[in-house]
Amino acid sequence: MKLSATQIAWRAAQDIEDGAYVNLGIGFPEMVAKFQPPGRQAIFHTENGILGFGEAPAAGSEDWDLINAGKKAVTIKPGTAFFHHADSFAMVRGGHLDVAILGAYEVAETGDLANWSTGPKGVPAVGGAMDLVHGAKRVAVITDHVTKDGKPKLVQRCSLPLTGVGCVTRIYTSHAVIDIESGHFVLREKLAGLSFDELQSMTGATLHAPQPVADLVAPSL
């Protein structure tokens, strides 16, 4: 038993404060926007120059000048602002974002993140990931706990090319919520049906649990 991608996104969304400025990485992390808790409204930033954009338009009513960083059509809503790329990354690099939520190939206990290159084969593409990891006040990762082959994605040291050094502070996985503090994975929540030892065996570095570990729960979605 494990959380689905949708449920991981839901869990990550619960930690976003009302009024937070948030950048969601392209692909899977974009899903987080759907699960803002009632009464809270985050303001979403996209690298290509929109702050406070709205949901996807109905199919057929897309305006292709109004897209997000993943090149998907979005909409405006009251309070939206447009700006150019240098201003957009001033928001990122200048530390003005509250939260960035990114995908990962690997996350190390040091907070190092690898999420842009699977090695020398193929075409490398980095986009805004390397900027985001050094900009937001809180850089979180959402990911399956292990690869499709069952290998740990949470590791001692990343084996793939790094996106950033010591940048990730929280990881939401299919099995747990883990903080990174002083070079350690600190377990905060895990699935109720999963023992600490089972989780440790799926994890490539030592899990610490200095405080009681809460149950990781998410609704059926």
Partner: protein, 244 residues
């Protein structure tokens, strides 16, 4: 989320002794006179804040706004490009008496240092000031055969800014050349407080027309008919009036 502040006193309540405060405007245009005067009111009433480091293009004019702030003795150091004006007596007297410190910065370098502070660029190179007294002590590097001076970012604890329209999310527009340093200072301060002529609902400012997106703004206070420094000075105004 609503960044609206109820009044000017609340807007300036959080500024601490020793703070670095960026104050927008170029001369009187874009100068947040009412926010400055509210800060003076607080100082007159409580003795705080003092020992401020102020960043502004100029050093005030006459006896209102920035000049009045200096006249109260609240400013320990001024970072500016051009401390002259039609009536610079307040700054000049204190400067020549050694009572206020001055860091003189070329205007374009001042603007770029503030932008760099807001954009997370800790240092950059500029041809400006190379070979002059204002480059003394700064690293020099040659790129493509030409010499450049390394300049550091400039950040602040607080920015006091004047804009035209603002919505409750902090999106701002400015009025003509009153824009000047204001959008840059919004980016470079931990806390940016803006006085606007009118607070509007989100959506009333065209998304294309937003000059400062709300992410750079922490508080917005409405001052419906802001005073203009030039006009006050032509009337011989002094702030606080009791000082006249």
């Amino acid at each position: 989320m609503d960044k609206t502040l109820p009044d000017l006193a609340t807007a300036v309540a959080g500024i601490k002794d020793g703070a670095t405060v960026m104050i927008g405007g170029f001369g009187g245009s874009g100068a947040p006179i009412e926010l400055i005067h509210a800060l003076i009111d607080r100082f007159v009433a409580t003795g705080h804040p003092r020992d401020l480091t102020v960043v502004n293009n100029n050093a005030g004019n006459g006896h209102v706004g920035l000049a009045a702030l200096i006249e109260q003795g609240m400013v320990r150091k001024l970072i500016c490009s051009f401390p002259r004006s039609a009536d610079p007596v307040v700054f000049t007297e204190r400067y020549l008496a050694g009572k206020i410190e001055l860091e003189l910065v070329p205007q374009g370098t001042l603007a770029e240092r503030i932008r760099a502070g807001g954009a997370g660029i800790p240092a950059f190179y500029t041809p400006t000031s190379f070979g002059t007294d204002l480059a003394q002590g700064k690293p020099v590097e040659v790129f493509d055969g030409r010499s450049y001076v390394q300049e550091r970012w400039l950040k602040a604890d607080v920015a006091l800014v004047k804009a035209h329209l603002g919505d409750r999310l902090g999106n701002l527009t400015y009025r003509m050349a009153a824009r000047n340093f204001n959008p840059l200072m919004c980016m470079a301060a931990a806390t940016t407080i803006v006085q606007v002529s009118r607070i509007v609902a989100p959506g009333e400012i065209d998304p294309e027309a937003v000059i400062t997106p709300g992410i750079f703004v922490q508080g917005v206070v409405e001052v419906a008919k802001p005073a203009q420094e030039e006009t006050l000075n032509r009337m011989g105004a002094v702030y606080p009036e009791a000082a006249a």
